[in-house]
């Protein structure tokens, strides 16, 4: 028989979200640097054509860094993103590929042009006249922005799939409600990163302070789009679903804090650019530029965390829950069992003293490990180990009501009880002996709770004025 389930890997104490988060944040930072770097290069080449001193010298220095960082690690972390997403959410990336593969193929065309134009500039740029150099860099920039344009539509679709949910129309999904604020916000971030990297590199050039200062003042102009970031951020928050907005504005303390971190770091960067660089005409040293870049990295990381977290309890809103179970499948899995069709055995089956605990481990592997571990990050034992058995049963059975950013439990009463027993057993130090819990009255009570909770996600109570 052809297994339909995917094997699930264990990342030890790290939950899967941490794995994709680490790769994703690095890639987003580098990819946006590549795009912003293109803006910087095109602008400085235009300046060079107008005879601005040192502009061309800066370009040749900057482009080496751009190639070494962006063309190598940036491109490779892009491939890594794809492969890591398969590792942590094969069903999610599979659906994205199914729906948007021609969009991705279009993005690949843009990426190819970006690479070719970039390498031509790297290899032949020193011997080309300014006019040709400008054209090459303009094509490079346009292609890299095209790459962002197409990928942004797919990523924003995950949070706000819009009319696609009803119609299945790819364009309705692509130009979804958060497409434009997300695209413009990312463009502003890219420009900021490019400018900050340029300032750091100008400091490393063998020029006197006055000449460096003149170049820095030029590069700082690309920080201007930062002024729009607060408005773009508000626009983004306004168009996301009400429940997602509720997480960001106090519903989830962690997400609210990360949002505050992203906004605070961006505000600090913007304030420094306005007050320090434009108004006071301060010289930006290499160390300061590096610190600002680190701050920008922190803002990017926090922003990506918020973007990912705001989708809960979905990985693709209204289509796939965080654990890659579709809303329409929950009722069937409640009836048939969630792991009945899973052919993959437990690697540590001998560890469990009863079949019930082994069943619990298989259910946890399928339904919980997307966001939790048993004893590591966001551990089930830490969350539920101190609850009474009745609390555990109730909270798991009514999972989407226990916490509104959790998906509904997708299994029968026997699986709820198996998970509850497993958490209790792990919290008790995994003893060699453990009683089987199969009281029909308990299972009937759990079944009643499951029925009462229903099979849908529960939006939080959003306070209305």
């Amino acid at each position: 028989m052809e297994p339909t389930a995917y094997p699930v890997n264990d990342f030890g104490p790290a939950m899967r979200g941490m794995v994709i988060g680490a790769v994703g944040i690095l890639h987003v930072f580098l990819a946006q640097f590549a795009i912003g770097g293109g803006f910087v290069m095109t602008y400085f080449q235009w300046l060079a054509g107008r005879g601005v001193p040192d502009a061309r010298r800066f370009l040749d220095s900057f482009f080496t860094y751009l190639v070494l960082i962006s063309f190598v690690t940036g491109a490779m972390t892009g491939v890594a993103m794809w492969l890591t997403t398969i590792q942590v959410g094969p069903r999610t990336i599979g659906l994205m590929v199914d729906e948007f593969h021609w969009i991705w193929a279009t993005e690949w065309c843009c990426f190819t042009v970006e690479i070719v134009a970039g390498y031509m500039f790297l290899r032949f740029g020193a011997r080309l006249p300014d006019r040709v150099r400008l054209r090459l860099l303009a094509i490079y920039s346009l292609a890299s922005f095209g790459s962002l344009f197409w990928v942004n539509g797919i990523l924003s679709w995950q949070l706000t799939p819009g009319a696609w949910v009803g119609s299945g129309d790819v364009w309705a999904g692509f130009f979804n409600p958060s497409f434009w604020p997300s695209l413009l916000y990312r463009t502003a971030v890219a420009s900021t990163l490019g400018a900050l990297a340029a300032i750091a590199i100008i400091n490393a050039m063998d020029l006197d302070r006055a000449r460096k200062h003149a170049l820095i003042a030029r590069a700082a102009r690309l920080l201007v789009p930062m002024a729009a970031m607060p408005l773009l951020g508000l626009w983004f928050v306004a168009v996301i679903p009400a429940d997602s907005r509720a997480w960001l504005t106090g519903g989830s303390v962690a997400m609210s804090m990360f949002l505050a971190l992203a906004a605070g770091a961006s505000l600090l960067l913007g304030a420094y650019a306005v007050v320090g660089i434009w108004w006071r005409r301060m010289f930006v040293s290499g160390a300061t530029a590096a610190l600002l870049l680190a701050l920008a990295f922190g803002a990017t990381a926090a922003g990506e965390f918020v973007r990912e977290g705001a989708r809960k309890p979905y990985t693709i809103r209204q289509v796939l829950f965080s654990n890659a179970i579709a809303p329409g499948e929950v009722a069937r899995l409640r009836r048939d069992g969630s792991v009945t069709g899973d052919p993959y055995p437990l690697r540590d089956a001998g560890r469990y003293p009863t079949e019930q605990l082994a069943l619990g481990a298989r259910v946890v592997r399928l339904q919980c490990l997307a966001c939790h571990t048993m004893k590591g990050a966001n551990a089930l034992v830490h969350l539920g180990g101190g609850w009474s058995i009745e609390q555990l049963r109730l909270n798991i059975a009514k999972l989407q009501q226990t916490k509104a950013f959790m998906p509904p439990f997708a299994g029968p009463a026997s699986e709820v009880e198996a998970v509850a027993q497993l958490i209790r057993w792990e919290a008790s130090g995994a003893p060699r002996q453990w009683p089987v819990s199969d009281d029909p009255a308990v299972l009937a009570q759990i079944a009643g709770w499951l029925d009462a909770a229903g099979t849908s996600a529960t939006p939080p109570q959003v306070r209305k004025p």
């Binding site: 070494l68 490779m76 972390t77 890591t84 593969h101 042009v113 690479i115 134009a117 032949f124 055995p345």
Partner: protein
Amino acid sequence: MSLFTGLDGAGGYLLLLVVTFAMHALLIGFVLGAAAWATMRAVRGGDDVVAAAARDWLPFALGAAITAGVAPLLLVQVLYQHRMYTATLLLSHRFMAIVPALIAGFYLLYLGKTARVAAWGRARRAAVSGAALAAFVFVAWTWIEEHTLAAAAPEVWVAHYRDGRLVHGDPVIAQRLVVWLGLAAAAFAVGAAWLTRRRAEATDLRRLGVVGLGGLLVAAGGVIAIDRGGSASVPAPGMTWLALAAVAHAVAALGFAALVTDRARLGRGLATGGVIVLFVAVSAVREASRAARIEWRSTLVGAQGVFLFLGFLAISLAAIVWCARMVRAHLGSEPPART
């Protein structure tokens, strides 16, 4: 040709997969061969125009190979999603190790171009290019392993997962690797013959001819080993392509023989044509075998966006050609400087 028309009307995906994979394999073949040549040159000491060209073009070639590789990576997910994802998950972090291996190899190629490394002794120079070569061979082996595991029976997957294995052991993996490494030598010989066409001496071209012939021989040996192992059953849609591969193999061999016998112009032309057709044909045979053995998804026919892609493909090709013409017009015929 029925390979692309006989499978539920979704052969367009397969055609794109074959073409883009062949392009990727050609480029990565050049990378493998060039890294091997640079390593051997460093071990032997001294330098030659082929090694210099190899070191000079390697980073671009790898960048182009990786970019070209993204297309088949996408198409494999469209056509064989469940199997591809399952194999990737089963090989787990051992598979993911290809990413740091490629990053390390990439930076080593840039390092190998620097004046500082050029001033190093033989052992250290050989270590730089040799380590890059080892990284790329590891990546090639891992992809073949992934391909093989994806085509395996579900019972194999279950056993693999149960035992917590990170390596899929199958003799055909080594045999396939031998075929691709042989083809890589041929791709490198052709690429290097073009890159050095204005500077290479007869001795250099003769060496490249020998490398190309040796590569074709090794590839043929690999195919014979796969056949003897019983894993080489080619379905009917692949037979035309197998025949074409045999013809292209012979043409490429003639081309390399011409290089060995100092007929450079004829040799380059024949070897180039033969090797390109050979890569496309081998890629088609590979896909025909896979499509016949495992289920593939034809449900995506009619997915929206194909015309957008075709339009952008045309625009992108035009942009690339325009860039190349613009640069060429301003550089004239002067030889490229090292970057």
